[in-house]
């Protein structure tokens, strides 16, 4: 018998002990899976089911209508608009926040006397409730707020109008929410990048320095960028999933307005269910959104392989 196999635990414990291990494992995962079945898996199937029904739980007015919900949702211009709107939002926010998070990480990864406290302060928005932070940002973008009275009079790089009422402007309300979310989520991803940076063995940097990789750009191009590919994929995917489900901030700050400028799919889904009582359409819209997320993320199959293997 192979010596290594003999001392490995599977064979060291008899087959009955192996059964004990399996039974313990199932007992350990049972509570989780009970909760997952009740509050995740079954709801997913049930949502799928009601997406083919006219479903009104309050008046027991329920009947099968096939693909009608999907078709009427897809034919609804405000839904299509909300999808395009959120894709535009996602593209802008994920791109900028990923770069910002990376550069914040490069900066705050330096262990200097000031780094710990400053990093803790920068991280504050990432733990604050989106509702609370949104309310503070109503002030930031209000006509009497921070942007108009502190930022634009001194720095106006993009030639933005002075004294604009940002959140009531169809042009600027959505970019304002983008700016706020880039500002508040970049620090979270910064921490993920810092973890990625610290996982790079210092020997690699030393060896690269001997090979002449010394400038910041070269270090970025030949070390950080390729070594942080997993981290970047994670940051992008988490960013995508979060952005596409934008809701709290829009609900609190603009409620989808002005004139639908900040209308996003979750607003549509919420309104269908809770204002119009058309749960079937709500469910159908959710599954279309699900499909969008799958399309955007499942292209990264290698990533999920690595994540499960890890």
């Amino acid at each position: 018998m192979n010596l290594a196999a003999a001392t490995s635990f599977k064979s060291l414990l008899g087959s009955s002990s192996r059964r004990v291990v399996s039974l313990t494992a199932y007992a350990f995962i049972a509570p989780l899976f009970i909760m997952l079945f009740a509050f995740v898996f079954f709801p997913v199937f049930f949502s799928f089911y009601i997406s083919f029904y006219h479903y009104d739980p309050f008046y027991h007015n329920i009947y099968f209508i096939g693909l009608t919900n999907y078709l009427s949702v897809l034919r609804n211009p405000s839904f299509i608009f909300s999808i395009l709107n959120v894709l535009y939002y996602t593209f802008v926010v994920v791109t900028i926040q990923t770069f910002l998070a990376f550069f914040l990480a490069l900066l705050f990864n330096n262990k200097l006397p000031a780094s710990r406290t400053t990093r803790a302060l920068v991280f504050l928005p990432a733990i604050s409730s989106p509702v609370a932070f949104s309310i503070i940002f109503i002030w930031v973008f209000s006509p009497q707020g921070l942007v108009n009275s502190f930022i634009l009079p001194y720095i106006n790089i993009f030639g933005l109008p002075a004294n604009e009422n940002w959140l009531l402007s169809t042009t600027y309300a959505f970019p304002a929410i983008m700016a706020m979310n880039i500002f508040s989520t970049a620090p979270y991803f910064m921490v993920i990048y810092i973890a990625g940076l610290q996982a790079i063995p210092s020997q690699i940097l030393e060896a690269a320095a001997l090979d002449g990789v010394k400038s910041s750009w070269h270090k970025f191009r030949y070390i950080y960028f390729p070594m942080l590919r997993f981290t970047t994929t994670l940051v992008v995917i988490l960013g995508l999933i979060g952005c596409i489900q934008l809701f709290d901030q829009v609900f609190v700050i603009t409620d989808g307005g002005p004139a639908h400028a900040t209308y996003v799919p979750l607003m549509f889904i919420y309104n269908r269910a809770f204002i119009y009582d058309i749960f079937g359409q709500s469910a159908a819209a959710s599954f279309i959104l699900f499909a969008v997320i799958m399309l955007l993320t499942l292209t990264q199959r290698r990533f999920f392989k690595e994540m499960t293997w890890a």
Binding site: S22, F28, G145
Partner: protein, 314 residues
């Protein structure tokens, strides 16, 4: 805990060496830069850090400042002078108004109660499952773990629409159990716990196995106590997400008496029509953030560790 290294087989020895070498690598990875940094460069970097910290803190700074002022208006230009128009008595007067508005103490207690129950149950369930996925070998382990991770990709409304319907059917709309139960199953906690248990050298558990402990005993007596940082991190994450949760309470809660703080803030915001009374609003926002900030200040280390654990491969 005696480690029985003398009769290690070659397989276990290589594993041990791998563990040791990987822990070394982690140590070395913590060295910030391999180059000696000049004084100028170091001060420039620190200046950049301080500037960023100020930028990031200004919204909160104004929030705190405003809760010490009486004017309901935002003011133009914004007055950031900490001594201008601020006083403790203003704060007390704002506080009395906010605390007496609606059911603020009840909203606070609701938030605390819901978060506490969710944290305890979610962390416990997550730790058990995370341990099983990291350390116990059982048929279907990978596929089940994959199923747990896949839940991270399901958009919130796909689940919530049905959960809302279930709550209607069960008569659990506007109840605590309806508020809490859907928040308990957390893939993030399972993943975080699993990642941490994977970093604990398996030799420790192997020794316990040789001593005759059963897998369940090993978890409760040996592995769980070693995983305190992971427990702390996932407790904090769960607390933050439950405390900040807005969309599920928005679906589930119908009377103001059952509000949690995010709903209460949103309600408070609309209390005077389009005019927000900024002094009271900012005081309400401040007190809703205080528990988060306290926990953050105490456990900052675990926050960072937890995010790092979820963010790197094994």
């Amino acid at each position: 805990m005696g480690m029985t290294v003398s009769d290690q087989s070659s397989g276990q020895l290589t594993r041990l060496l791998k563990t040791i070498s990987s822990s070394f690598r982690r140590e070395e990875g913590n060295v910030p830069t391999v180059y000696r940094m000049g004084r100028l460069k170091s001060s420039l970097l620190q200046a950049a850090m301080v500037v960023l910290a100020i930028i990031y803190f200004i919204p909160f700074y104004w929030m705190i400042l405003k809760s010490f002022r009486l004017s309901i208006f935002a003011g133009f230009p914004v007055d950031l002078n900490p001594f201008s128009r601020t006083s403790i008595s203003n704060f007390i007067s704002n506080f009395n108004y906010v605390w007496g508005f609606g059911n603020f103490p009840i909203w606070y207690l609701n938030s605390i109660f819901v978060s506490a129950v969710v944290v305890v149950s979610s962390v416990f369930i997550g730790a058990l499952a995370g341990y099983a996925f990291a350390r116990l070998d059982f048929p279907g382990r990978n596929i089940l773990f994959y199923a747990v991770l896949a839940t991270l990709m399901i958009p919130f409304p796909v689940i919530t629409i049905s959960e809302y319907v279930f709550m209607v059917k069960l008569g659990w709309i506007n109840t605590y159990q309806g508020l809490m139960l859907p928040q308990i199953a957390s893939a993030v906690n399972v993943y975080l716990m699993r990642q941490y248990f994977l970093t604990i050298p398996s030799e420790i558990e192997d020794a316990a196995k040789i001593d005759g402990l059963r897998p369940g005993q090993i978890f409760f007596r040996i592995s769980a106590p070693l995983a305190k940082p992971a427990f702390a991190a996932s407790a904090i994450f769960t607390f933050i997400s439950s405390w900040n949760n807005f969309i599920w309470p928005l679906f589930e809660i119908q009377t103001t008496g059952m509000y949690t703080l995010p709903l209460a803030l949103n309600f408070f915001k609309g209390a005077n029509g389009t005019q927000i009374y900024w002094n009271d609003m900012m005081l309400a926002t401040t007190i809703s953030l205080i528990p988060t900030f306290i926990i953050y200040v105490i456990f900052e280390r675990f926050f960072i560790q937890g995010i790092s654990l979820t963010g790197t491969k094994g």
